[in-house]
Symmetry: C2
Subunit: 345 residues, 2 copies
DNA sequence: TGCCTGATTGCAATCGTTTGCATTTTTGCA
DNA sequence: TGCAAAAATGCAAACGATTGCAATCAGGCA
């Protein structure tokens, strides 16, 4: 009974798990099978067809581990999401998740697989070296610098194929892709002031450098225009945000008429709290967010915000990483944010 | 000059990449190093310490590919997101992304890595076999059945370690975790009718079986209560949804007073369109969504919806998969959805 | 000191593919 | 038909860690 017969009869054909098994059936050497399946080599067309037919019939697929070991490359890009401050936040953060989705798209297109790892630096100092040194990935993309700026810098000195989503600091050594947060902050503050705000507040945690830069930009503009601005630490864990914001609103009631939220997520929550308090937006209080998430156009009223181009960011991350895999020491890429004027300011 | 001296001088210590390198330095055999680093074996305490010290000093980490090849397991779970209908949709879909985040958490906790692969079945019929047969993953989680029910069934017959997020059909062969979509649909319709709706519409694509089940549930209740219900195909790609919904609303104007949206994303867009048209929710038109995404509590008015417990789903997926990795042939897990009454119905 | 036992360690095969080089087969041409 | 060149294939050595089994070592006891 041939294997083809076996298949017709619904019997599982002889198990062929390795190149050698297949080679035996085809009556050739494993090397030839390897070449035939790789496609590119100089194997006789008829031989190749025969081998491919057998491979198809048996659903054979070469063992990747062995292949990777031999070729010393994995075809996998690691994506690390460090959860520094606000542990529960980022992994469910819409912005990061959307970025991740686009990364998956881009990498797949370039023929790479994506290995996702969520890390809690506080629990494991060695997270980045471990990921890199694991030998499981050809390169690494880090989503968000969190509070790990220094560690990333250290690693960057000895490891080329790494690109980070985050904020660009003057003179930093690691390659980063991200929006010009400071400029974004300026745009937000300018808009708030232009639409009549006389006293601003920044709603967000100023620890992460991305947010710090947004605040700094807003502060710069505020100072120039002679408008006061105060920072109100607000965290991103879904459980706490609402309450924190409520508290802040109570505190600033009547004293502040322009709010710059560090992220749209915060802005949206803020809008809701304001609505519940019957505070009219934008008449009594103006609000500008940051990110331009899909929801931001759906709020009532629709949110004025600073857009980060997530798709472009993902594309940039992947492009730079691939160039680094080729050995090039790429520069950082800073994307310009855009003010999207809707109805809250 | 010893390596320690070299380090003190800021010189990079001798490169040690393999167990053999390290073994030479330590003056033992590679086997011993392997055992020492694995920790569990019976190696002399002093030897182990010495080896660990050297490993630390050189930042040595065993090559995973070799290890995996030898041990015939990868420690990696593949997560596939098939993008059947609506290609651009799911990867950026909040629900799936949130589920993915929770999966990452769960898997990390259990010591597995997560390999993400977005697949377009229409472009590559062989997606699932390819993923499984790649030898890169110990097991597979499929997020969403999309239009691939049959293919998944076929694969399930010969491959145990696979669990799927999706809908449970009577008598199906693959192990699935998911909400009871039919029940969810019932809850939604009951609520709409209870709050006074006299004529219903279902906003969503009825191709995917999850959505079909939601619609079926609603239809059953509607029939029982003698209320008409019609399905209005609505896709999920962000670009098209808004327009499609607008068109539907024009069409049903005055004829329908209760909308059951297949997902919260659709519901939120719908609310926005209604707001723009000045239609009062819930007075003139009632709306119920599905998922209970974080945004759903932030809309104006807050959305009444059917909650799926995403965290529980992720936990279920991972638990079942791990049991399957042990050889157990687990049953499917159907989670009960819960009606969350807010203000739109 | 000599022998036995148990604790350590070393040896070498193995996981399955890839690939440089050697060998065989085919082809083209005189 | 014969021979060189080209094409196709086979051989065997990697890739680097793991692990069963054998060998060695140390300690205990007579």
């Amino acid at each position: 009974m041939t294997d083809t017969d076996a298949k017709k009869l619904g019997v599982r054909p002889t198990k062929v798990r390795t190149l050698a098994d297949l080679a035996k059936i085809a009556g050739v050497s494993p090397g030839t099978v390897s070449r035939a399946l790789a496609g590119n080599s100089l194997v006789n067309a008829k031989t190749r067809e025969k081998i491919e037919a057998i491979a198809r019939e048996h659903g054979f697929r070469p063992n990747q581990m062995a292949s990777k070991l031999r070729r010393q490359k994995t075809g996998v890009i690691g994506v690390a999401i460090p959860l520094g401050h606000d542990v529960r936040q980022q992994i469910s953060d819409t912005f990061f998740m959307t970025l991740l989705g686009h990364l998956a798209d881009e990498l797949t297109e370039k023929g790479y697989d994506l290995m996702l790892r969520r890390v809690i630096p506080a629990q494991n100092e060695d997270w980045l070296d471990q990921f890199i040194g694991s030998g499981m990935v050809d390169g690494v993309i880090v989503i968000g610098q969190s509070d790990q700026f220094e560690r990333i810098e250290e690693v960057a000195d000895g490891y080329l194929p790494m690109v980070v989503w985050g904020n660009h600091q003057e003179g930093q050594r690691h390659c980063v892709v991200g929006s010009d947060n400071r400029l974004g902050g300026k745009l937000a503050a300018e808009r708030l002031i232009a639409s009549g705000a006389k006293s601003l507040a920044f709603l967000g945690d100023t620890q992460p450098i991305e947010f710090a830069a947004r605040y700094a930009g807003a502060k710069e503009v505020a100072a120039k225009m002679g408008v006061p601005i105060l920072a109100l630490p607000t965290h991103l864990s879904p459980e706490r945000t609402g309450e924190e914001i409520a508290e802040h609103l109570r505190e600033i009631k009547g004293k502040v008429d322009g709010i710059f939220a560090a992220t749209d997520t915060i802005a949206v929550t803020c809008l809701k709290e304001l609505r519940e308090r019957g505070i009219d937006v934008p008449r009594e209080l103006k609000v500008v967010g940051f990110d331009d998430l899909p929801i931001s156009s759906q709020t009532a009223p629709p949110l004025t915000t600073v857009r980060q181009d997530i798709a472009a960011g993902a594309k940039g991350l992947v492009d730079l990483l691939l160039r680094r895999l080729e050995g090039e020491d790429t520069e950082s890429l800073v994307l310009p944010p855009h003010l999207i004027v809707r109805e809250t300011a």
